[in-house]
């Protein structure tokens, strides 16, 4: 019987059909998905902080409205993804607890600080650009609810990337000081953006099984290369450079060659040693704890009304 179920699962995945919540699935598949989707959801939620930092100081009402909408989208993306984990039997409160206790991770990119308003633009262009590269293939991931969440997210990420690029174009048409600010920001975010695709394929422990289960559709290095190829003409049009002396077009490969990110720094940030790791978690914990009275009051209100209706 178990073999039958496994065979049906394998066939569904191989046929590029989707696995749905009530289908039988291997424990490892379920665990891998919960881990990956929760980590993704946590990233969206923590990702509200670096940009939220600039909402009150946006230089115009237009930029403020855009930034508010973008940060609200990040919250929405987190919720779509938490909702997908719950179809796998995960518990929302448990996931939040694991995040604020540091037992589940989020993308390391959000442990870097946003020092200037140009960072808002560069995050939209490069960080959301890298996220899109990662996420577009996930619209075809084998687990239905995850794929559907990714389709919604990708549609909205396109706004994020374009608003960032437009913001930078505006700054590049400004003063020399503004142009320098953009270049400085690009210099700080380029390598962390490349690290968003994860460690090199040779060191990525989860890739092989995830590819077989069609959770993951491309390897880390393939996606990183694609991102570099896409970003170069955008940088040229903008008038900025990337801080990599090895970055150049390779006629033979038909792709750009580029240097290797500092993987020691990557692992250091993953393990908690980034500039903002503590601040991000402390802030999330505080928001959760400060909001507890609201959650309790809402439950009390709902119970009171349910009783009234019951009595009537």
């Amino acid at each position: 019987m178990a073999d039958d179920l496994e065979l049906r699962f394998e066939r569904t995945v191989q046929a590029e059909s989707r696995i749905e919540p009530r289908d039988w699935m291997p424990d490892g598949y379920r665990k891998t998905l919960i881990r990956q989707i929760a980590q993704h959801a946590h990233s969206e939620i923590i990702g509200m902080q670096p940009e939220g930092n600039w909402i009150s100081r946006a230089p115009s009402l237009r930029r403020k409205a855009i930034l508010l909408a973008k940060v609200q989208d990040e919250a929405g993306h987190g919720l779509y993804l938490y909702s997908a984990t719950e179809t796998l039997g995960a518990d929302r409160e448990d996931l939040t607890t694991k995040l604020i206790e540091g037992r589940q991770k989020y993308s390391s990119i959000f442990n870097y600080p946003t020092l200037t308003f140009a960072d808002v633009g560069v995050i939209g262009w490069l960080v959301d650009g890298a996220a899109i590269c990662n996420q577009v293939p996930l619209c075809r991931t084998s687990y239905g609810p995850y794929a559907r969440a990714m389709i919604r997210i990708c549609k909205e990420e396109s706004f994020h990337q374009r608003q960032g690029y437009e913001l930078l174009m505006t700054m590049m048409r400004g003063t020399q000081q503004q142009r320098d600010m953009v270049q400085d920001s690009v210099n700080r975010w380029w390598w962390p953006a490349l690290m968003m695709f994860g460690p090199p394929d040779s060191e990525s422990t989860n890739t092989e099984q995830s590819m077989a289960w069609r959770i993951k559709r491309d390897t880390n290095d393939e996606l990183r290369q694609k991102f570099v190829n896409m970003s170069m003409p955008q940088a040229e049009a903008l008038g900025v450079t990337f801080p990599d002396p090895e970055l150049k077009w390779n006629e033979e490969r038909g792709q750009y060659d580029f240097g290797s990110p500092d993987w020691d720094e990557f692992w250091q940030v993953v393990k908690g040693g980034g500039v903002c790791n503590e601040q991000r978690i402390a802030h999330r914990r505080k928001a959760h704890e400060d909001g507890s009275w609201v959650r309790e009051a809402a439950v009390a209100h709902a119970q009171k009304h349910a009783q009234k209706e019951g009595a009537a």
Partner: protein, 94 residues
């Protein structure tokens, strides 16, 4: 007192003339808040003109394990499809 909010399934009618379609779920303390949260989470870009929220516990679903027997009754009734009937090609409007 437990502060966990129950789970609601959300269905959105994209525009007049279409059915409500399941779009996801969310947590809320009561139906009214579920509707408001659903608006903010699932219709930030005019994706809907009407929303239903249903307590997740109120949904009864068929089991995928019974897939074949459960749907078998319709499986062998090809005569329910219009293509089952051979009609001469020169007969119009059929």
């Amino acid at each position: 007192m437990s502060t966990s909010w129950p789970l609601w399934e959300v269905f959105v009618r994209g525009k007049r003339g279409l059915n409500h379609v399941h779009v996801g779920s969310l947590h809320a303390p009561d139906a009214e808040m579920a509707l408001r949260n659903a608006r903010d989470v699932y219709t930030r870009r005019n994706e809907g003109v009407s929303i239903w929220v249903v307590p997740a516990t109120a949904i009864t679903a068929s089991s995928p394990d019974e897939k074949d027997p459960f749907f078998a009754p319709s499986g062998d009734k090809v005569y329910r499809h219009p293509t089952f009937y051979a009609i001469p090609e020169d007969v119009p409007h059929l």
